[in-house]
Symmetry: C2
């Protein structure tokens, strides 16, 4: 499928779809909350690497010509006062003229680079994601914990996984933690807070990357009056190639 | 000199002072202009890589414990309606409770890495800087041209200079242009818009990096009612080591 086909037709998780094209997390907040959100992202660049910010009310992004952010994400979450109130496939009825949308890098983007470097990936359509005990640096009214995604990586490939992703800071960069999940407050690896359960083989090491679901955890903790996000794993597929976000691309 | 000594005592340009410590551009604007400024930086990350943003009115930054942004820059520029009205060594009398300060990466930071990689640097205390004919992507009320810094690099070292700086995206990253100055609208290389005249040796190639003076050019073009910046070349010296901004540090 092309990126445009995924945007138009897909309703499920997007990992592995339109391979080679960058996928993005969405968070749209009222203009009054946009500065806090942008500053939160600037102060927490590993979980919140911003790829684009829209003008107030506009559903258009430079990341995909002609795309419509109100309809082109497979599944949305609607938030009121920090609580999720709906999970529609179309957000048109919820869109407001004062919404500013933030498109944030997604770790699916660096998976092409990991595969190209020979690092095997265990998971299927969605990755396991966990809320950690690490707090993000707050910004104005926004605060919340760091959320991470997990990949089980064979021990002999961990160094390659670190190097490859370190060169892609626009999509979370190097891991935030390698090894013991308890060190970052994860007590039940088999029960992720979002996404699928992890799949491991003998000799695998848990490797955790900062995750673009972190802004959703900040919404839950900070309770702005209104927000629209993607549903975890159901990303906005852009027209930008993953290689654009590699600092030393071939 | 230590970074704290430079902050306290220096009144001239800061290139080469407190070697190994990151220097930063300063732009402080009223809270009402902070969102446009932050978005301008996000949309133009090569000239405006943000290292820190302060809370409104606060002269404190996480980049240097105990430093005071009202006094610790060697020389300031005061701007009213897009015009520079004063160039004091102390900005205390101009500070306001609604000012938000942005500290932006500076190309001086990658010079340690260039030297370590064997790339000779020709200039003295300040680099030549030029206003180009390339426009930045606007953000709200802020717009303006891209400003670049120039280094004359021996032809055989240009590839190294590109690779080394590409790995430091927080301090402008890879060059925006190599070679013919006219291609980016620079007609008089010997008359820079800011800083010192270039010094070249036979076989040198002009290499241009995006420059943190770009926000000052946006102030001139966009005319916010009030702003405080550093004077070009007179940077805020932080306590952060340059190597912190290298993606693959040793």
């Amino acid at each position: 499928m092309t990126p445009a086909q995924v945007r138009t037709h897909e309703t499920g998780p997007t990992a592995g779809l339109a391979p080679g094209y960058t996928q993005a997390n969405l968070i749209a907040v009222p203009r009054d909350w946009a500065y806090d959100t942008l500053l939160f992202a600037q102060r927490n660049p590993k979980p919140c690497p911003i790829l684009d910010v829209t003008d107030p009310g506009s559903p258009r992004t430079v990341l995909a010509d002609g795309a419509d952010l109100r309809t082109d994400v497979p599944r949305y979450r609607i938030w009121r006062d920090g609580l999720m109130t709906d999970e529609p496939a179309d957000a048109t009825d919820y869109w407001r003229d004062d919404l500013v949308a933030f498109l944030i890098g997604c770790s699916f983007t660096f998976e092409s680079a990991l595969r190209a470097a020979g690092v095997p990936l265990r998971h299927g359509r969605n990755v396991p994601m966990y809320i950690t005990d690490r707090q993000c640096r707050p910004a104005g009214r926004l605060h919340g914990p760091l959320v991470v995604s997990l990949r089980m990586i064979p021990g002999e490939h961990v160094d390659t996984a670190v190097r490859v992703t370190a060169l892609m800071p626009a999509v979370h960069g190097a891991p935030v933690h390698v090894g013991d999940p308890a060190a970052i407050g994860i007590t039940a690896l088999d029960s992720p807070d979002f996404g699928d359960r992890p799949v491991a083989e003998p000799g695998d090491v848990p490797v955790f990357w900062a995750c673009g679901v972190t802004p959703q955890a900040a919404l839950m903790a900070s309770r702005p009056p209104f927000a629209i996000t993607h549903a975890p794993g159901h990303m906005f597929v852009t027209d930008v190639q993953d290689s654009e976000y590699q600092l030393l691309q071939g």
